[in-house]
Structure formats: C-alpha cells, structure tokens
C-alpha cells in the first residue's frame, strides 16, 4: 500500500509544480535556518570532554576581605595564589591542576622567524593526564618539574607547525622573553569546545562569550617556572586592593589562579567539598579569609552553565530560526490544506469505492512526508551553505563548525516530522470530506 501511496503522492506533487515548489522551499528554508543555528548551538553547548567531565570539578573559596554590604555572596571566578596553592599542594583529589593564562613574546632561536606574541598557560603536571590531552611527540612534565621550577615547555600542534614545520621538535629550544626553555612535548591537534579550563567571568560578559571558544594556548609551562619568566604578563582576573607595583604576583591582593580537580566518585566529591569548607574555616580562624561559608565545588558542566558559555547572540539566532521554521510550517499547513481539499472530488470517489478514512489519511500523510523528505534534502544543502557562511565569519568558533552525523540525521528527522505535523490537520480534514456532497458535484 505504501508504494502505491508514494506513487499517488509523486503524481499529485507533479500535478501542481508551483504549489509543490512553494511547500518544499518553505520546509527547506525553515529547516536550513534552524539546523544551521542548532548545529552551532550543539557544537557550542556540548560537553568539551565527554569521557571525563563527570569527574572534573572546579573548587572555589572566597578571598574577598571586606564584610561589604554589597557582597553578592558569589565567590570570584578565580582564586588568589595562596588559596589555590594550599588546595593544590594538599593533593586531596585524585588529580589536581592549577591554571593561569598569560601572554608573552616568543622566538625560536634556531629558526629564522620574526618574534610573535604567544598565549601561555601556566599549569601543573596533572593537567595533561587529567584532561586527556593528546600528544604527538614527547609528553608532559613530571611533578618534580613543578617543584624544581624546570625550564621546560609543551607546545601546541599549531605552533609546532608554524615554527618547525610540524617536525618532531622535542629537545629544541624556545626563547620566552629572554629565557631559554626546552620543548619536552608537542600536542596533537586538540580543540576542546569550549576551552573549558580557561572559562571564567561569563556572568560579567553581557553574553559576549565567544572568546571561550578560542583555541588552546600555544605554550604550556610548569606553573612555578612560568612565574619566574612571565609574572608580569600573567592575566589577573580582578583585585580587591590596588596592588603595589613591586609586590610579587604571588602576594598580590588579586584573584588569578583557577584550580581543577578530578574526583572519581561521588563520595570523593563530597569529601572534597568538606575539605575546602574546612580549609576556609581554618583560614578564617587564622584571620586570612573573611567569608569562610562561601566555598563551592561545581562540576565541569555546572561551571560552564554558571558562566553561560553559549554566546547570547547564538541563542537568539536559534530562537529566531525556530520562529522562522514555525512560520514556514504555518505556510505549509495552509498550502497542504488547499491542495488536499482541492482533491475532495477524487477523495470522494476513493471513499465511495471503499477506501476507509484511515486509508485516505495515510495517503495524505505519505504525500506530506514526501514533501518533508524533499524539503529535508534542500534543508541539508542550505544547512551546509549556512555553516560555510558562518565559517567565513571572523568568530572564534568558526573552525569548529561542521555537520556531524547526528545533526545530519536530525535534519531529515526534523524535516519529516515537521511536514507530518503540518500535514496532520489537512490530512484529517481531507479524510473527513462529506461523501455524498462531493459525489453530487462531480
């Protein structure tokens, strides 16, 4: 029966090409617009590290000293050096890494290229195993390198290509400012979306959060030795006092260090929660912290949610695209209604010859589904076009965009479901045509 209905549907579509084209275009445009934005949403709001995200946490204590009435009771997005260092050095989690970012001047003395400004991540040895960072050559540094302030660095695949043409550069030298460091590892291409370990301050960004989707830094160095080299170029989140110019960065009244911990079970997470609360209470007793009750331990995904990492423009575009799809569907409903009811005579004959209401309904729905399928193909092409257009834009996440198999399938499922929904009312109406009346007018 399905084959026969399909044949009928094809004939009917061919009969009125303009109307068919209108419906197909309406579905294609609506699907294209919503799938383009949905794909962007899907890529931006996804889990940056699906295998690990459930075990990664972001502890925070509140070093703000003043009992300020305007204090929002939400700790700053990063920690001061002392708190972060204490928590890190306690090694109470399965793995832990401190993170701070900065920028500095970089040259490769053996390579004849102009100096460039590079982004550097200061972190500790657990960073690489904890975040499953893939290596192309060499590997990360060891815990003792953190202790001994080793002048070693891991570089990104991009930087390795730029400086060394992609060859194995382990053992070669980089000059950071005026210091020589030895390359001990080169990352394989690694592009978490968002660049989760640097996310902070989303709630102050007014929805302009596209920078969370930047590429990872080009240089990774042990936290201790990177401060020896680039304390002045390290990014500071905010300060609660104006720091004196000659204060060492470790002692500045500022927050600039993030701590990530890996806790492999719920029990460990609740233990760690207690540990940071105890730490804050102890520090309050020592007179260093004021807000001992203000500690949090968010999981990675909670932290991303809290920072509203998906840019508000992207969310707005998604809503707009779905409104567009809705209007396109309204249109299709109207046009299908017109099309089916125009065939009332034909349907009357089928019914008189013994077709049930269900059979007429099925026939109409097959026709609607076919329109959806053709519209889906158009929508898929338009989605590819839309993504290609966004890739041309100078946005941070441009290189991330692609249509994965899940979104490809979603395109067609959505097109067919949308057209069946649009076809439901017209098909129901068509199946209920008054038999006698139609036959009389023939």
């Amino acid at each position: 029966m399905f084959g026969y209905y399909l044949d009928l549907a094809l004939r009917s579509l061919k009969r009125n090409k303009v109307l068919t084209a209108l419906m197909v275009i309406a579905i294609a445009v609506g699907i294209g617009a919503s799938m383009t934005t949905l794909t962007v949403m899907h890529l931006l709001s996804g889990d940056p590290i699906p295998t690990r995200s459930a075990t990664l946490f972001y502890p925070q204590v509140d070093p703000s000293p003043d009992p300020d009435p305007g204090h929002t009771h939400e700790a700053w997005d990063m920690m001061d050096y002392r708190s972060a260092m204490d928590l890190w050095a306690a090694h109470r989690a399965d793995r832990q890494a401190m993170v701070a970012s900065g920028s500095l001047r970089l040259t490769a003395p053996e390579v004849n290229q102009p100096p460039l400004m590079a982004q550097m991540l200061s972190t500790t040895s657990d960073f690489f195993p904890m975040f499953d960072v893939p290596f192309q050559y060499g590997g990360g540094w060891q815990p003792q390198d953190d202790q001994s302030r080793s002048r070693v660095a891991v570089i990104s695949s991009d930087l390795n290509i730029k400086l060394f043409g992609g060859a194995n550069s382990v053992g070669r030298t980089l000059r950071l400012k005026d210091n020589d460091v030895r390359i001990i590892g080169v990352l394989a291409p690694w592009r978490p979306s968002p660049q989760f370990y640097d996310v902070a301050g989303g709630r102050f960004s007014n929805g302009k959060t596209a920078s969370f989707y930047n590429k990872p830094e080009d240089v990774f160095m042990p936290f201790s030795s990177s401060l020896d080299i680039n304390a002045s170029g390290t990014n500071i989140f905010t300060c609660w006092h104006v720091p004196d110019a000659d204060t060492k960065i470790e002692d500045k009244p500022c927050v600039w260090v993030a701590l990530w911990v890996q806790l492999d079970s719920a029990a460990k997470a609740s233990n760690y929660r207690r540990f940071i609360a105890d730490y804050a209470a102890q520090q309050k007793a020592l007179g260093r912290l004021t807000h001992a009750d203000n500690t949090t331990l968010r999981s990675l995904m909670q932290w991303l949610d809290f920072n509203q990492v998906v840019p508000s423009d992207v969310r707005l575009q998604t809503w707009l695209a779905f409104a567009f799809l809705l209007i396109c569907l309204f249109n299709t409903v109207g046009l299908l209604l017109a099309k089916f009811l125009r065939r009332s005579g034909e349907i009357g004959v089928r019914r008189a010859l013994g077709a049930t209401q269900g059979a007429v309904l099925a026939q109409c729905l097959v026709e609607a589904g076919l329109i959806g399928l053709i519209g889906g193909i158009g929508g898929w092409l338009l989605t590819l076009l839309g993504l290609a257009l966004i890739r041309q834009q100078p946005v941070e996440y441009a290189d991330l965009l692609h249509l994965d198999s899940m979104m490809f399938l979603t395109t067609f499922v959505m097109a067919i479901v949308a057209s069946l929904l649009a076809g439901a009312v017209p098909a129901w109406r068509a199946s209920r045509v008054a038999l006698g009346l139609q036959l009389k007018t023939l």
Binding site: L22, P114, S312, F324, A338
Partner: protein
Amino acid sequence: MPLRPILSSLRHHKLTALLLMLQVAVTCAIVCNVAFMISERVGQVTLSSGVDEAALSMLDSEMIRKGGNPQAQHAADLAALRALPGVTAAVAVDSLPLGDGESSYGACASAEDMAKAIAAHSMMQSGLCMQPAVFGGSPGEIGALGLHLVEGRDFHQDEYMTGTEVPTAIISKALADRLYPGKDPLGQSIYSGADKPIRVVGVVGTLLRPHLRESTSNQLAMIYPMLPNNAQVTYLLRSKPDDRQRVLRAAAARLFQVNPDRIIPAENMRTFEQMRGDYFQRDTTMIGLLLTSALGLLFVTALGITGLANFWVQQRTRQIGIRRAIGATRTDILRYFQGENFLIVSAGIVIGLLLAVLLNLILMAHYELPRLPLFYLPISAAVLWLLGQLAVLGPAMRAARVPPVVATRAA
C-alpha cells in the same frame, strides 16, 4: 463595504482563516521585535566617536627588548613618522575611542564624594562619582584626533608627564555635565585618588570611550597630558583619507628603519574605519542576520497569503460567476477579496501586537533588550496590512476577471 457576506463566508473556512490569522500574528510579533533589535544595533554601530575618523589610521609597535627608554624611542619614532610625505600629524597614544583596550579611573567632583564612594565600594553608587575612560597621549593629540574644544584650551607643553599624577585634564562634555551639573567646568577639580586634584582646563564635545558600556556612560571620557611610557604603543597618523593605506605601509617600513627590534602586528595596522568595523564586527553580522530573517519571514507570510487566496479564488470560481451574473461589478469582486484579506490580517495583527509586547517582555528578561517603543506597533501593523493587500492583489484580480458566463456552466 458590506462586511457581513465576507464574515459569513469565512465561517465556512474557519480552519484556513484561523491558520492565516495565526501566521500573520506570529510574523507581526517577531518582525516587530526584530525591527527593534535591528534599530538598537544600528544605533550602536553608528555611534559617533567624536574624532575625525576619515583622516585617521594607526599602527601598534612593541619593542622586543625591555629596558631602554620608551619615551626616547617614541620621540624618535614620531619625528620619523612626521617626516613621512603625506602625514600631517603623528602622535603616540595609549588608547583610542572604539579601540577596545581601555583604562578607566574613578573621578569625583569633590574629596568628600571620593571618600563616600570609597566607603560604599562603588564609584557610581554615590551618584557624584563617575568611571570615565582615560586617554593618554603625546602633545598634539587633540589636534591629531580632530577633536573640537568647546571650552578652554589644549595642554601646555610643561603639563605633560608619564604617570597618572597629571596636573590638568580635558574632559568630555558628557562628563562635565555629570560631574558639575549647572556649573562652569573650567577650573573645577577632579578627585581621582591621586594626591593632588586634577584641574579641568578644557572640554571637548563628543568623545566615545574605547570600550562601550551602557548608553549613559559611553561618552564619559577624560584626556590626560600623560605620555605613553610602555614598550608597547599605538601611533596615530593623520593624512588625506584616500592616502592612508600607503601612509600605513610607509610608516611601518620607516619604523623598522628607525629600530628593527620591534613587533608591528599586521592586524592592528588599520584605518579608523577598519578599527570601528573590527569593534562592531559581531553587531554587523547580527544586523545582517536579523534583517535577512525579518525579510524572509515577511516573504514567507506573503507567499502563504497568496497561496491561500489563489486556492479560494479557484474554489469559488462558480460563486464569483454567479455574483457577476446577478450584477456585481469587477470592482465589487476585487473589493470582496481585498476586504476578506483585510479582515483576516487585521485579526492577526491584533493578536500579533499583543504577542509582540509579550515577546518583548521575554527578551527584556533574557537579552537585556530595552522596552519596545510603542510606535513600532502601528508601523508593523501598517507593514503587514500593506503586505497582505499586495499578496492578495494578484489572486483578487484574477477573481475579478472571472466572466459571468461561468455561472451557467456546470462546475
């Protein structure tokens, strides 16, 4: 025109009429809000910076070796840049309107206000202190930027220094109005946390800050006689508008001759318009997207109206023939379909305007959009009425051409 027959005929097409009405309503609500968002963003990207944008271009230079004397280097660089043919002025600056990188300081009209603001932990809370952006630059900055002093004078040569403890400042008109309402700003003191208050010696008209905030504080800015004193500096060049690309290339080459030990990032070698374009790049993309989707929505709705009207005309060919046979003129038929469209679209618009206000409330809660000005409502109603009438015109005219003889034929 008699509406009764139209209404009673619509009663037989409840579902289709309802669909069309809803489509018009949703379109009306969305287009109304999208139009408002477009105008908000256009308002942003067309904000006047107050400087002579057409004549300006700039490039950054960063010395590779730390140490040395940045000021001496800047002076040498500027002398070389000024000697370039086509350059009418060159100054070293630390920031520019719409340049994004900004330093801002608390500024109060009196020491008491400053104390209050410090006690309240907020510069803006006391109402008397502001958080203006501060521009520093080498002598001649006002002239090179093409700023107009509405009051007072430019800085004297001996007022320039390197720190923030400057003796004098030139402030924007907006800042003057906020700090010293109803008073002559000239000679007033700015308390900014420095040991000595800063004296206002001049007022410039419009001056946008490097990084925009809410609309009320976009123009809060001060210019300090503060020489850039970092290894990294921006050189601002003034030349004929169409000569700027050549001047920029010549300037970069000349700077490398003066001292090759520097980085001149290619992405920051740009004209003022390019910098403005970079600053507003996301907004311009968004304007394009919003505009396309608004036009797309209107187009799709028009298609829907035409499609349905066509169907109705075909369905009623016989009735039209009968009406024509018993004396209705072509105009009567035309008017009938136009009237029918008007009724449906009007009903849609009424619902749509309510939806528009509702949607605006949602957007206000989630996207910090201001309240929709009410004049958008009649405008979008008019646009949809016009669209409906245009969309129905073709089918209605075809209906009017139906000859009376159709009535005598079998259907």
